[in-house]
Every structure is written in structure tokens, then in C-alpha cells.
Amino acid sequence: MILLEKRPQPSRVWTFATPVLAVVLTMIFGGVLFAALGNNPFETIRTIFLDPLFSEFAWFYRPQILIKGAPLVLIAIGLSFGFRAGIWNIGAEGQYIIGALCGAAVGLAFYPTESFIIFPLMVIAGALGGWAWAMIPGFLRVKFGTNEILVSLMLVYVAEQLLSSMALGAMRNPDGVGMPGSRNLTQYPSATSWINESAGMHWGVVFAFIAVIFAYIALSRHIFGFQVRLSGQSPRAAKFAGVNPARLILICMGLSGALAGLAGLFEVAGPASQVSINFNVGYGFTAIIVAFLGRLHPVGIVLAAGLMALTYIGGEIAQSNLGLPGAAIQLLQGMLLFFLLAVDVLTNYRIRLKREGLT
């Protein structure tokens, strides 16, 4: 008989080992899945996990990892605070879109003036946009006790509608002969977020690393991080310790919204280059997986975002070179979260094998 026995305290070893184990299990079961689809499992796994880094075209793929990873890190760092405190902002995708729209609006409004002040203003507008969008579920939760999961999620669809309306209407490129989509921001030197396009460097990468450092310090050294952790583990104890739950909800929602908004702004002014109907590609949702895969820990999030970016790029290679269906890649990513949650039990429990009849 298999028994689960609660550990007196969480295991340190397993806290770090479970993400690795989850990745290994995903590779094994992913391989089985690919074999069932008629592909060579070893080749497919190698294509997805190793080719972006080590193949002869790695010089092209490596910068892509930065580009895909940066928004994931930014958003996941913001979410990790709320998730630790038991505040579930599921609508980062919407805040990402609104941040992009607000930031782009500032840039487009100044077109074609050139000034060093334009890009900082766009950054502020992007952060404020995401913040404001996240404050809607935050405020409703504090004031009326609504569920922030539902409200923030539904606001994603509102944001998507706004995005298409902007791409087709107010922000459409006047010189674009009726084509949907705004002006190309990367061709507007004062407004682009690129630092070095061929190296994959844009301001989002810089901000992502700053966010990681700040999050690390806040969580380990600052009373705010302590209050966040305490609230997530024991809400009543947090209240007794003097944490104001309403204030914490607003701060955590606002923080994750602002970071998601920033991610959106850097994306629209860089890799995506314009406001278009299909601007958002699900970073806001993938970041939820990244946050948990990274154990809600800043350094873990960086590693997890790198891994997710890898599967994105490797998945694209596998699609074009091996003819793998796109859904198989999404399945692989879902599998990763599934295995992580499943093996997570080892952190707090140990498995004991007992022979039948001795109980």
C-alpha cells in the first residue's frame, strides 16, 4: 500500500527538485505522445529542447529566447506576489493589452516629433494602463467582495475587443491605405523599445531583470514580502500581525497589472512593432504557468520563463521541420504544469510503501 505521510516541515530538497522532475517527466511522456503521433520521440524532444540552443541556427534562435522570455518574466514576477498572497489575478493578458494600447497611444500622439522624453512617457503610460485595468477587479473585490478571478478574466475579453477596435479605428495608420494596424513603432526612433534588434535586446529585457532583482529583495528582505507570504499562508494570522487585507489586494493587483502593462508596451514598441488585431499571443496566460513552474520565486521564474520560451521556439522549429501539429506543443506546455502540480505533493509529503496486512 502506498501511504502519503505529511512531513513535519516542507522538504528543501524537493522544493528545488520537483521542477526538474516535472521537466523530465514531461520529456518522457511528451516523447511517448510524439511517438504515438508517428514522430521519432528522441529527435522531437531534441528539436524542441536543444536545437534552439545548440543547432547550427542557434545564432538565430538564441535572441528569440530573450524576446519571448522577457514579457513572461515581467508578467510572472508581478503575478507571483499576488499568487503568494492568495490574490488570483488571472487577467494579466488583458492588462498586457491595455498597457500596450496606452503606451502606443502616447507614442502615436507624438508622431513624428523626435524627443528623448517620448519613450519614458510611453513606459509610464503603459504601466499606468495595466495598473488601471487591474485595479478594476481589485477595487471591486475590496469594495463589493467580487471574485477577482472571474472579473480579471472577463476583462481580458473586453481588452481584446478594445484592441481590435483600436487597430481598426482610432489607432489605424493614416498612411496605411486602409490596412488594419497602427504605424510601425519600430520605425519611429523616439518610440521603439529596441536597443539591439539582432541581439534580441530591448528595454523589456532590461526591465525584466530589474524586476527580478527588486522582487528578490522585496520577498527576502522587506516587510512587504513578508506580509505577502504571511497573507497567503495564514490570512487570519496576517490580519493579527497588522496586515490590511484590502490594501494588500490593491497593491498586489496594481503591481501585477503595472508589470503586465509594461510588458505589453515593450512588446508593441519592439517585437510586435504595431498595434494590430492579433497583437496578443497569450503571454499573460503562459506567465501563470511560468510563475508556478518557477515556484513563485524570482530566480525560479527566470529559469521557468527561459524554459517556456525554449518550448515556444523549439515548438515552432518542430512544426516547420518535423510537421508536428501546433496543438502538440500546447499539450506539452500543459503537461509541464500538470506534472509540476502532481509532483509538488512531494514537497510536503513523503511516500511510504507498506506491505499489505501490516496496517
Binding site: H222, I223, A237, F240, G242, N244
Partner: protein
């Protein structure tokens, strides 16, 4: 008929890391009221769970009326005539008494028949209970009666009662004892688990004392002093808290018509509580659980803000102050629930020290934590209060209840409060740890602090309080000097025994 009713021989049960019962043997005779004594963790509950079929022993055997008795599950135990009243009731609030009783039956008869049987049994044993009342409206004592009657309907040979009096007023205890004596006279044996020694002396004929899973003594409680029994339980000389002579000083905290709505559906509203607390005194507040204790602590700690003028601290209105502002000026509190309220189970003891000590111990500068200092403070608490743990890096949940309680109370006392509010400071704590905590509270008062001790344990309150007041349905009685209060007076202050006396007279 020389066979005892139940004979336990060499019962042993080990869990990983602990031996809960080791070679336990004793007999319970027919109609005997047998006490099972022991500190927390002595193995009492494992033993009764073995008898009730919830735990299978590793070795040893039991015989019931001479026949081997190995219940595989509680149903088998019940069929053999063993019934048990648990400390925590398993009743559905939204259903009436008869429905609740029917739920526990294998083949429940019609409601009207159950009601008739409930009435018959309650009449026979002096346990007044209306089968049609909704359980949610019953007092704790009445709920316990539902559980007892549920057992009695099975006509048990052995009735096991686990800490039955912890939720009762003195009058309700008297009624319960009356019933138990009647049952015993009719031949039903009772295995009575408690750590309230005076009760055992009043009720039981034989006591088996367990310590660390082993039977260490068997005695006649009527002929043994409470102190001797306590020492048998603890295994060492018991330290009785001493009250040092002290001067009672100025009023430091006053409650003026403190009223507050219940914070949630199952809470109790506080109604017009007025009280002056003086420096150097221990004010005991008694009452049955659920009469506003949690809410009163929350109002004092700042978790539940009230009208500003309802609370005055050294003449200043503080009803709207936040918890940490109150800590800053010297008003500290320790709530009842250790896990998840007074302490965060998954956090280390250092982090649990940070929880309430940041303000007074200056554990932060501009919000940045001083981990070394926090760790040092946690170590001080561990040392001063003899908390048994390998070190402050251990998670709070790895500590036993008594040790964590010592840490939680110690954490507040080590911060030098001017007013300390504690709720159930020794709940579920073994006798020696309880004595240490009470002594620490008395020492704090003798240093000039005011201590408000809220507790359901009247013996504890009488031992340490200078003045005594009772909470009943959110109202506080006028405090009276604790010295010289009789049990009857306390009972009346606690809200009396509801409507039971009448039924008892007729029984």
C-alpha cells in the same frame, strides 16, 4: 460474574517515531466509573480509539465480558455495546435533534418513534431535550446531551466520554454527573477521560494514569489528592503558580460601552461591555466558548476596529487604532487559535517572531527586515520559555501544541507589554507547561502590567485572577473579586444553567 466487563491486556500501538501505547493493561468492571488520566500525548486518545475500533493495535488483546473483542470499525464496537461521546460533536446545525439522532442509526425508525424514545431516555436520565428543536439553536451542553442520548439509545455496556466537561458551565457539569452516576448505578460502565482532577475525584471510582503511553499508576481518586494525581501524570513534582503580593495601580485600559457587530455569520456581537483594567492586576474573563471571546480579543488587538471612544488606553481613545499602533503603545494580545491565527504553521519560528514583534523589537528599518535580530529574539523566547525545538529555523507546525503555545505567549510577554490580552492561554497544553504559562502571566502582572486572561477553564481563572467577570452572549458581567467566589455564583455569572433545573427536579 468475576469477569470484568472489559479487560485490556498488553495493548501496544506505535506510530512512526512515537509509541502511543506500550503494553497497556487494565480492567473496567461493570458499572464502574473509570477515569483515564494523562497529559496531552500520553496516549489516552489512541487507547480509546482502539477500544472504539478506530485504531488497530500492533499487539495485545481485549476481552469484553470474557469474549475476545477486536472491533474492526466503530460499527462493530457499537454492536458489541461500546459507545463513545467525542470531545468535538458531530451534529448538523440545520437539522433537529431527532433527525440528527436518526442519522447515526443503521436502520432509523420513524421520526415520531425516535422522538418518543428520546423523550423517554431524556426523562429517565434527567437530560432534558426537546427532540424537535434545531441543533443550531442549542447550547453546547444541550448538544452534548444529543450525543449522549444518541449513545444511550444503543443501550451500551460501556460509555466512553472524552473530555466531556470542557464546554459546560458548572451547573451543566452537575447535571451531567448526576446522569453518569445514574447510568453507573444501572450497570453501565463509564470510561471518563479528563485532565480536570477535581471532577475525577468527585465522580470516579478508579483512575488509570497514563504517561508516555504506559500505565504508570492505578489509584482510587476519592482517596488521592489532586496534586498527587497531577504529579503521577507529569512524573515530577508539579510547580503550582504563586501569586506574589503586588499593588494594583491606575486604570490603564478602559472599555466604555464597547459594542460591535459580529464580524461573520457565526460570530457573536459584543454588547455594551464596560470595564476598567488596572496596572498589576490579572482580570479573568470566564464563559462558555462562542459567547464573544474571539470578538473581544479581536476588538482589543485591533483586528476588529470599533468606535474610537469605546476603548481608552491611558486616557487616549484607541478604538480605531491598527494592531501595530496598539503594539507600539504597549497593548499586546495572544489569540486562542495557535495554528493559523496566533502563528503561521508553515513559517519558521523566526518568521513567527517577526509576525508580532516588528514594532516593539524594532526588527525593521524603513521596512527592511533585520533577520539576525529577529532570529535572536526568537531564540530568546525559546530559551526563556523552555520551548522544545531544535532551533528557530523550524516550522511552527513541527512543534507540539504545548510548545507552540509557550512560544506564542512568550513572544508577547518578552515584548514587555503594559496590557496583555490572552485567550485560552493553556488550551490543550500539558499540566507542567500550563503551570509555566500561568506563572509567567502572574510574573508579568507583578511587574506592573495588566493581564486580561480569557479562559473556559474556571480552575485556571480562580488560580490566577484578582478579579473575575463572565462573558455571556456578548455581554460582560460586572467584575467581582475572585477570592471567595463560590462555584454557584460563578455559574450564575456565566449565564446560569439555562432551563435544566426544572427537568431535573422531576426526574
Amino acid at each position: 460474574m468475576t469477569d470484568p466487563l472489559l479487560r485490556l491486556t498488553g495493548l501496544t500501538k506505535a506510530y512512526p517515531g512515537v509509541i502511543a501505547n506500550k503494553d497497556v493493561s487494565f480492567d473496567i468492571g461493570r458499572g464502574e466509573v473509570h477515569a483515564l488520566l494523562g497529559e496531552n500525548g500520553a496516549g489516552k486518545s489512541t487507547l480509546v480509539k482502539t477500544i472504539y475500533g478506530l485504531v488497530k493495535p500492533d499487539s495485545g488483546k481485549m476481552t469484553l465480558e470474557g469474549a475476545p473483542f477486536q472491533p474492526a470499525e466503530p460499527r462493530a464496537a457499537r454492536a458489541a455495546g461500546v459507545a463513545m461521546v467525542f470531545q468535538h460533536f458531530s451534529l448538523f446545525d440545520a437539522m433537529n435533534v431527532a433527525e440528527n439522532i436518526a442519522l447515526g442509526m443503521e436502520n432509523p425508525p420513524a421520526q415520531s418513534e425516535i422522538a418518543a424514545r428520546v423523550l423517554a431516555v431524556s426523562d429517565q436520565y434527567g437530560l432534558p431535550l426537546d427532540p424537535s428543536r434545531i441543533v443550531g439553536e442549542l447550547s453546547a451542553g444541550e448538544r452534548q446531551r444529543v450525543e449522549i442520548i444518541r449513545c444511550l439509545l444503543q443501550d451500551p455496556k460501556l460509555l466512553i466520554m472524552d473530555e466531556p466537561t470542557s464546554v459546560l458551565t458548572p451547573q451543566e457539569v452537575a447535571i451531567l454527573f448526576e446522569t453518569l452516576r445514574k447510568l453507573s448505578a444501572e450497570g453501565t460502565a463509564i470510561l471518563y477521560i479528563s485532565h480536570k482532577l477535581e471532577e475525577i475525584r468527585a465522580l470516579c471510582e478508579t483512575a488509570t494514569v497514563l504517561r508516555l503511553g504506559e500505565v504508570v499508576a492505578t489509584c482510587d481518586p476519592r482517596a488521592t489528592s489532586a496534586r498527587d494525581m497531577a504529579e503521577l501524570m507529569v512524573g515530577s513534582t508539579l510547580h503550582v503558580p504563586e501569586k506574589a503580593a503586588r499593588d494594583v495601580g491606575d486604570v490603564v485600559l478602559s472599555l466604555k460601552n464597547l459594542s460591535a457587530k459580529a464580524p461573520h455569520r457565526f460570530g457573536t456581537s459584543l454588547r455594551n461591555i464596560s470595564l476598567d483594567v488596572r496596572k498589576g492586576e490579572v482580570l479573568g474573563i470566564g464563559g462558555v466558548a462562542g459567547n464573544g471571546q474571539d470578538e473581544l480579543v479581536a476588538a482589543l488587538s485591533g483586528e476588529m476596529p470599533t468606535g474610537a471612544d469605546m476603548l481608552h488606553y491611558k486616557g487616549k481613545a484607541i478604538g480605531q487604532m491598527r494592531p501595530n499602533e496598539r503594539r507600539e503603545i504597549g497593548l499586546l494580545a495572544a489569540p486562542e487559535e495557535r495554528m493559523g491565527h496566533a502563528a503561521a504553521p508553515d513559517m519558521s519560528l523566526t518568521e513567527n517572531a517577526i509576525m508580532t514583534a516588528t514594532t516593539r523589537q524594532r526588527l525593521t528599518t524603513r521596512g527592511f527586515l533585520h533577520w539576525a535580530k529577529a532570529r535572536g529574539f526568537a531564540e530568546q523566547v525559546i530559551k526563556a520559555f523552555d520551548v522544545r525545538t531544535p532551533g528557530p529555523q523550524n516550522a511552527a507546525r513541527s512543534l507540539s501544541g504545548g510548545n507552540l503555545q509557550k512560544f506564542v505567549i512568550g513572544r508577547e510577554i518578552m515584548q514587555d507589554p503594559e496590557v496583555l490580552v490572552v485567550n485560552q492561554p493553556t488550551w490543550g497544553v500539558d499540566a507542567s507547561a500550563a503551570a509555566a504559562i500561568r506563572q509567567a502571566l502572574l510574573d508579568l502582572a507583578s511587574k506592573g502590567a495588566a493581564v486580561i486572561c480569557i479562559s473556559q477553564d474556571l480552575d485556571e481563572l480562580m488560580e490566577i485572577s484578582d478579579r473575575f467577570a463572565a462573558l455571556n452572549e456578548g455581554r460582560l458581567s460586572a467584575p467581582r473579586p475572585a477570592r471567595g467566589l463560590t462555584v454557584d455564583e460563578i455559574g450564575l455569572m456565566l449565564g446560569g444553567a439555562h432551563d435544566m433545573e426544572v427537568a431535573h427536579d422531576s426526574a
